[in-house]
C-alpha cells in the first residue's frame, strides 16, 4: 500500500514546550486512521505541521508525496481540513463560508454540498455569530466533506455534535473509506474511533506510544478472568502469560495475555471450575492506560492478596 502521509522523528517546540518530540506517524492511502491522545498531547500541532502552518525543528514530513511547507497550493487542492477550533466570520452566512472555502480549494460540487446540508440539517442562511457551537462545527465539517479530495485531515470533527449528527458523520466516513479516500481523524470519542478507524496511533507528550490496527491493539491487552475453583489455585502463577493472580480461598482472579488464553483455560478446567467470569479487553482500558500519567507501568499496583509475584512491569 502506498503512503498518504508520514511524519518521521518530528520535533516541534514552542519556546520551552516540546509539543512534538520525535513523533512518528504513518498513514496509508485508503485507510481511516485514528489519532488519539490526551489533551495537549500534540495532535493539533501535528495536523498544523502537515498543513504547512508550522515550521518544524527536526524530522521529516511527507504529505501526498510532497513537502507541505513548499508545495502548499498543489497539495492543498488534494486535501480538506476541519480545524480543532472552529471560528467563523461573524458577518458571513454558513452557506457563504462553505462556498468560499470550496472555491478557494479549487471548486465545489454543488449537489454534494446541498446533500450534506440536508444530511446534517444545517441552515446555511444564518450568520456566523448566530450559530450554536454544534452548528458552527457543522459548517466546518460540511465545508470539508463537500470537497472531492484524496485526503481529509479532521481535528475532533464531531466535537459539539449531537448523537444523530455523530452517526451521520460516521456514515460519511464509511462512504469515504468505500471510495478509497484517506482520513486522518483526531478524536477523543473512543466509540467513534472504534466504529470507523482501521488503524490508530496514540500519542502522548508529543511521542507515538502505540500504533496499529484495532485488532492488534486488542491483542496486546489481557483478558481478566475470575473463577471459583474446586481445587487449589496454586500453580497458576507458574503458567506463562498469567499475571496479577489474586487468590482468596477457592476464588481466584487474574489477568492473562491473549496468546496464553487457551492454555490457561485448560489449566483451570483441570482444577475443576464451579464459576467463571471472563472480561474481554476493552479499548477504553488501553486508552486509559496510555492516557494516564506515568504510563502503563504506574497502574500496576500490587495487591495485598497477590499470591505470587510477577515481573509486574511491562504488559507487552
Amino acid at each position: 500500500m502506498a503512503e498518504a502521509l508520514a511524519l518521521e522523528r518530528l520535533v516541534k517546540t514552542f519556546g520551552t514546550t516540546r509539543a512534538l518530540d520525535r513523533l512518528d506517524l504513518s498513514v496509508q492511502v485508503g485507510e481511516v486512521h485514528g489519532f488519539l491522545g490526551p489533551n495537549g498531547a500534540g495532535k493539533t500541532t501535528a495536523l498544523r505541521v502537515l498543513l504547512g502552518l508550522l515550521r518544524t525543528d527536526a524530522g521529516v514530513v511527507r504529505l501526498l508525496g510532497g513537502d507541505p511547507w513548499d508545495d502548499v497550493v498543489a497539495l492543498h487542492r488534494r486535501l480538506a481540513y476541519v480545524p480543532g477550533d472552529v471560528n467563523l466570520w461573524p458577518a458571513l452566512s454558513g452557506g457563504e463560508v462553505i462556498d468560499l472555502l470550496g472555491r478557494l480549494r479549487g471548486g465545489l460540487d454543488r449537489t454534494r454540498r446541498d446533500e450534506l446540508l440536508e444530511r446534517f440539517e444545517l441552515d446555511p442562511t444564518k450568520k456566523g455569530r448566530a450559530y450554536s457551537k454544534g452548528n458552527r462545527q457543522k459548517v466546518a465539517l460540511i465545508a470539508a466533506l463537500a470537497a472531492d479530495v484524496e485526503l481529509y485531515l479532521l481535528d475532533e470533527p464531531t466535537s459539539g455534535l449531537d448523537p444523530v449528527m455523530e452517526a451521520e458523520f460516521r456514515a460519511c466516513v464509511q462512504e469515504m473509506r468505500a471510495e478509497g479516500r484517506t482520513v486522518l481523524l483526531s478524536s477523543h470519542i473512543l466509540a467513534e474511533v472504534e466504529a470507523v478507524c482501521d488503524r490508530v496511533t496514540i500519542i502522548r507528550n508529543g511521542k507515538a506510544v502505540e500504533t496499529g490496527s484495532l485488532a492488534d491493539l486488542r491483542h496486546l491487552m489481557r483478558t481478566t478472568i475470575a473463577a471459583e475453583l474446586n481445587g487449589d489455585a496454586r500453580g497458576l502463577c507458574a503458567l506463562a502469560g498469567v499475571h496479577d493472580v489474586r487468590a482468596d480461598g477457592e476464588r481466584v482472579a487474574f489477568e492473562v495475555d491473549s496468546e496464553a488464553l487457551d492454555g490457561t483455560l485448560r489449566a483451570l478446567a483441570d482444577r475443576g471450575v464451579r464459576g467463571l467470569s471472563v472480561q474481554p479487553p476493552t479499548l477504553e482500558e488501553l486508552f486509559l492506560r496510555h492516557y494516564q500519567d506515568g504510563g502503563p507501568a504506574a497502574r500496576e499496583a500490587p495487591d495485598s492478596q497477590t499470591v505470587c509475584s510477577d515481573e509486574g512491569g511491562s504488559r507487552r
Binding site: 508550522l54 492543498h76 486535501l79 458577518a91 452566512s93 462556498d99 472555491r103 455569530r129 466546518a140
Partner: protein
C-alpha cells in the same frame, strides 16, 4: 442589588488584565502634559514672548480649528496647555472610549463574559465594572497630570482644573463607549460608532471656534471637547463647566443601563438578519473576502472623512475674515499673496485628515493579525491559498482603502471650498494636495505589515508608531528635538501643499519605503509559524 453582584470582582479582573497597559497610558498622558508645560516655560520665558505667540495662534484659523483658542495670552499655563486641551483631550477621549468597549462588548463578543456570567454575576455587573474602571483610570490620569503640572511649576488651581477637564472628557467618552457597546454585537463596530461621535464633537468644536463672534460660535458649547477647553484652566477657571461633563457622563451611563436591561447577553439591540444561503459569484478569492470583511468599515471612514473634509473646506475661505487686525493681515498678504491664509488653513487640515487616513490604514492592516489570532486564517490557509496571497488581500484593502479615504477627504474639502469661492478649479487643486498625504499613510500600513510578519504578538505596534509620529510632529518643535529625530516621522516629509510647492522626491521615497516594508513583512510572514 443582586443585579450588581460580582461587579467588584470584575473590576479587579479588569485591573489585573490591564495592569501594564492602563498605568502606561496614564503615565504617557501625564508625562506629555508635564513635558509640554516645562518646555513651554523654557521656550517663552518672558511675558511678551508668550503673549506674542498666543495672539498669533489665536489669529491663525487653522490652529484654532485644530487646537482651540488660548483664553489668556498672558498666562503661562494657558499657553502651555493649549494643544493638550485640544488634540490631547481628543486622545484622552479615545482612550476612555476604547477602555469602555474593551471591558464590555469585547468581553461579551469573545464569550469570556458568558464564562463569568455563569458564576454569580448580576446583569449590570459588567457594565458597572467597566464604568468603575473608566472612572478610576480617568481619575488617576487627571490627578497625576495635575501633579505633573504643579511639579512643572504651574499654579495648583489651574493644574487641578486642567487634570479634571481631561478626566471629565475621558469619562464622557467612556460613557459614549458604554452606550455604543449595547447597540451592536461587534466590539469593532461599537468602537467605530464611538469614534464617529467623537469626531463629530471635535468637528463641532472646531467649527464653533473658528466662527469668532458669530452665532455659530455657540456650536463649541454643544461639544464635550469644547467644554473641556471652556473649563479655562489657568485662565480664570470655570469649575462649573466640569459639572456639565459629569452630568453628561451620568446621562450616558443611565442610557447604557436602560439598554442593557432590554437585551440578552451576547446580542445587540439590532437583531441579526439572515444571510444568503449561497455565496455570491464574486466571493472566490482572499481579496474578495478581505473586501467583504472590511467594506463596512471603509464606508464608515469614508463618510466620516467626507464630512470632515466638507466642513473644513467650507470654512476655509471664511478664515480670511477671521483676521480682523489689518496690520497682521497685511503681513500675511505681503508674505504670500491674498490666498495664503486660506491655503495655510487647508494645508493644516489636510495634514490632520492625512493622520486620520493613516489611522484607517493602520486598523485595516491590523486585520491581518486579528484574523490570524481569531484562527480564521487557518481554514483559508488550509485551502489552495498561499500565505502571501491571503495577506495581500488585506494589504490591498488597507492600501487602496487609505487612498479612497484620503481622496474622499480631498474631494469633500475641494468641492466645498470651490463652492464657497465660486472657483471650480479649486476642486482639483485641493484633491491633488490631499493625495500628497498618501505615501506617508502607506508607510504606516507598511509598518503594520512588517510587525505582523516579524513580531505578530505586538499587533498594536501600528498604533504606537502612529501616536509616536503624531506626537513628534506636535511636540517635537516645542521640545526642540533634533531634526534627525523629527525626520523619523513620515508625516514630516509630506510637502506642505497647497500652501507650498509640491516636491515629488519625498513622495517617491515614502512610497518606496512603504513598498519595502510591506515586502519585508510578507517575506517574514512566509517564514514563521501561523497561529
Amino acid at each position: 442589588m443582586s443585579d450588581f453582584a460580582g461587579a467588584g470582582q470584575l473590576v479587579r479582573l479588569a485591573l489585573r488584565r490591564d495592569r501594564l497597559l492602563m498605568p502606561m497610558w496614564v503615565a504617557v498622558f501625564a508625562f506629555m502634559a508635564t513635558v509640554s508645560a516645562a518646555a513651554t516655560a523654557g521656550m517663552y520665558p518672558s511675558l511678551e514672548s508668550r503673549v506674542q505667540v498666543a495672539e498669533t495662534a489665536n489669529r491663525s484659523p487653522s490652529l484654532v480649528a485644530l487646537y482651540g483658542k488660548i483664553y489668556a495670552p498672558e498666562s503661562l499655563g494657558a499657553v502651555a496647555m493649549w494643544k493638550m486641551a485640544g488634540t490631547g483631550a481628543l486622545m484622552v477621549a479615545l482612550l476612555g472610549l476604547i477602555v469602555a468597549v474593551r471591558h464590555t462588548r469585547a468581553e461579551e463578543e469573545n464569550g469570556r463574559l458568558e464564562l463569568i456570567g455563569a458564576a454569580a454575576v448580576g446583569r449590570f455587573a459588567a457594565l458597572t465594572a467597566a464604568l468603575l474602571v473608566a472612572v478610576l483610570m480617568n481619575g488617576a490620569l487627571g490627578l497625576l497630570t495635575a501633579a505633573g503640572l504643579v511639579a512643572a511649576g504651574l499654579p495648583a488651581a489651574g493644574s487641578l482644573a486642567f487634570g479634571l477637564s481631561w478626566a471629565g472628557v475621558g469619562v464622557v467618552f467612556a460613557g459614549v463607549g458604554l452606550v455604543a457597546a449595547q447597540l451592536t454585537r461587534s466590539a469593532r463596530l461599537a468602537t467605530g460608532i464611538g469614534a464617529a461621535v467623537l469626531g463629530a464633537f471635535y468637528l463641532l468644536r472646531a467649527v464653533g471656534d473658528v466662527q469668532g463672534g458669530s452665532g455659530l460660535a455657540a456650536l463649541s458649547w454643544l461639544s464635550p471637547i469644547g467644554w473641556g477647553q471652556r473649563v479655562q484652566a489657568f485662565a480664570g477657571e470655570r469649575w462649573w463647566v466640569l459639572l456639565l461633563l459629569l452630568g453628561l457622563t451620568g446621562a450616558l451611563t443611565g442610557v447604557a443601563y436602560l439598554l442593557v436591561a432590554r437585551r440578552d447577553l451576547g446580542s445587540g439591540l439590532v437583531p441579526d438578519r439572515a444571510g444568503p444561503a449561497v455565496a455570491a459569484r464574486s466571493l472566490r478569492s482572499p481579496l474578495a473576502l478581505a473586501w467583504r470583511l472590511q467594506r463596512g468599515a471603509l464606508l464608515g471612514w469614508s463618510l466620516g472623512l467626507l464630512v470632515l473634509g466638507a466642513v473644513f473646506g467650507s470654512v476655509a475661505s471664511n478664515v480670511e475674515g477671521f483676521v480682523d487686525d489689518p496690520d497682521f493681515r497685511e503681513v500675511i498678504v505681503r508674505l504670500g499673496g491674498e490666498r495664503t491664509l486660506t491655503d495655510a488653513f487647508l494645508t493644516v487640515e489636510l495634514g490632520v485628515m492625512g493622520v486620520v487616513a493613516s489611522a484607517y490604514g493602520v486598523q485595516a492592516a491590523m486585520r491581518l493579525r486579528a484574523e490570524e489570532a481569531a484562527l480564521r486564517a487557518e481554514p483559508l490557509l488550509a485551502t489552495a491559498v498561499t500565505r502571501v496571497r491571503w495577506a495581500v488581500g488585506h494589504v490591498v484593502v488597507a492600501v487602496a482603502g487609505t487612498t479612497v479615504v484620503m481622496a474622499v477627504a480631498g474631494l469633500g474639502s475641494g468641492a466645498a471650498h470651490a463652492a464657497q469661492v465660486g472657483d471650480a478649479a479649486q476642486v482639483g487643486r485641493v484633491f491633488g494636495a490631499a493625495l500628497a498625504h498618501l505615501p506617508a499613510a502607506w508607510v504606516l500600513v507598511g509598518i503594520v505589515v512588517l510587525a505582523f510578519g516579524l513580531v505578530p504578538r505586538f499587533g498594536a505596534a501600528g498604533w504606537a508608531f502612529l501616536v509616536a509620529f503624531f506626537l513628534l510632529g506636535e511636540l517635537g518643535p516645542l521640545l526642540e528635538l533634533d531634526q534627525r529625530l523629527l525626520d523619523l516621522s513620515p508625516f514630516a516629509h509630506t510637502p506642505r501643499v497647497p500652501a507650498a510647492e509640491v516636491e515629488v522626491a519625498p513622495l517617491l521615497w515614502l512610497t518606496a519605503i512603504a513598498a519595502a516594508l510591506v515586502g519585508a513583512g510578507l517575506v517574514a510572514f512566509r517564514h514563521r509559524d501561523v497561529g
